[in-house]
Symmetry: C2
Subunit: 351 residues, 2 copies
Amino acid sequence: MGPGPCTPYPEAMEALGRPIMGHLDPEFLSIFDETRDRLRTVFGTANRVTIPVPGTGSAGMEAAFVNILNPGDTVVIAVNGMFGERMCDLAHRCDANVIPVNFEWGTPIDPAVVSIAAYEAGAKMIAAVHAETSTGVLNDIAALGAAKGDSLLLADCVTSIGGMVLDLDAWGVDIAYGGTQKCLGVPPGLAPLTMTEAAWEQRVVKPRSWYFDLGVIGGHTPHAALAYHHTAPIAMIASLHAGLGAVLDEGLDNCVARHATCGRALQDGLIGLGLELWVKEEDRLAQLTTVRVPDGVDSGALRRELLSRYGIEIGAGVKEWSSKIWRIGCMGHAARLRNVALLLSALDELL
Amino acid sequence: MGPGPCTPYPEAMEALGRPIMGHLDPEFLSIFDETRDRLRTVFGTANRVTIPVPGTGSAGMEAAFVNILNPGDTVVIAVNGMFGERMCDLAHRCDANVIPVNFEWGTPIDPAVVSIAAYEAGAKMIAAVHAETSTGVLNDIAALGAAKGDSLLLADCVTSIGGMVLDLDAWGVDIAYGGTQKCLGVPPGLAPLTMTEAAWEQRVVKPRSWYFDLGVIGGHTPHAALAYHHTAPIAMIASLHAGLGAVLDEGLDNCVARHATCGRALQDGLIGLGLELWVKEEDRLAQLTTVRVPDGVDSGALRRELLSRYGIEIGAGVKEWSSKIWRIGCMGHAARLRNVALLLSALDELL
């Protein structure tokens, strides 16, 4: 119950162990294509260019940036946590003109401020994190989409995909990526990525990265892997295919509702224990809750006790919040009320 | 029995399905460190900087190039197949001064010619592929190491690691990377990489890639993952750990001998069927055999028959050799005499 990786769905684990097929085997290619269709459903998009990038979540971030930003291109990045900061680092490595718009950690971005900055700078792209894993804050991507003007809009959906309704096409998102190891309930190792035709047309012709070059990676054609680029991480793709199957069998709406119910139960329970949540109610994520460590409590010692005595992992904060907050995930298969109940009982005993 | 991915060792498959731990869980970190130790053994190195890069084999290539080549640095690349060509592409994307030294496909490189070119150009790095997967040719890396002068030496060991003796420290190799899905007998998804202190000291301070930036990826410290960079692909690392365990339990020398025995049996058998091998005997790899498609035989049709009737996958050639040669792997768990016997019988029946 940390900020990810979460406990995967049993279906995703079972698929990992299946016999390995060749990466050009017709049977593998049909699983690959079906995986791309399922990703379109959870992303809420009809985008042709939709693929699992062969790396962990941040590989999706890198693929998105190196395929869009030429040296000198202007990008406006909304920053209210570690993953917004990371976007700035990546954009600098593209030699882009990077304009960060900073907001206090633990509070959401203001879409109006960000979009005005983009308008004034004539930005090629606006980038923001949908669900900030470092703080547990929800940012309003739809509002950014409504105000993006001529800029492309990139959304980091690592911690939202599979646990919240994504409606990228309606929101006006041009590029988005996610991770497998959070609300999708699959082990870490792939970064689903999707891109509109508008973004595709403005992509970098020869990106700085070969490994993440979407022009040669083949994600824009059916049976993408037929044009050999890299050897697909077959076991992980089978696992993603099965994890997506579990989500869609449950029903995406039911799955999202389960995340919401568990998050609310956890947050109510934490408040009931006398703990203080970091984020205001209206800005909170259900799938990732941040709670202040009470005065006099050793954050690390409590986390170790939770792990060794109860078998529950929760996360520390990042940077200066490292010993000041805990990050508690209700993600994927771990988003169950029985887990919430156990964690609340354990915290009650330990505190 | 294609050019990879191969059938993984059962131990590697079993490990994939184990419960997912957190990427900062102390138990995971000790598996991670033990994996790095095992990689040092199969690489034949004591290099401190030894990690599994979180991507497939070509991710190792990209990590090696972006961490060594600054814009304007000179690199001499020995090219006698597709992976040498790919190195040139990657080096160009680093804005390096790229000097390819070309040799006929199906023949080995001449280390003297390559090292003279490097000396004359004052190259920062020489790069070559140890076992060319596109042609089945062995290149002499030790001879390059003996003649490298002041240049760093990079070796692509994707198709050699686990199937041949690697003795990188004795050979004078400064940077090397491999793949998991070939002779190591593990599914695709990681690229083991190792680097000497000399290479580390000359590395790029802020590489173009964040995802592959070895300075922040944490591979230079014990308990590397403690400094959070990306979410480690936990299931794949557990699988690599177990696959390396299988290799070392068999004994690395025994494992290499098994690859050699199977390769020799396959090559003798193919000649016995009247087929012609592409590569001269002294330059052939045991683990990857290239054989000319006989006149009048439909290469693709035969491969499909092999797959559907016998459950055996073999590979086509690449580029203009696509329908002119087959590539047959004896790698990892698939390197068994019973597989060789079945394939030879099947080819005999089909031809």
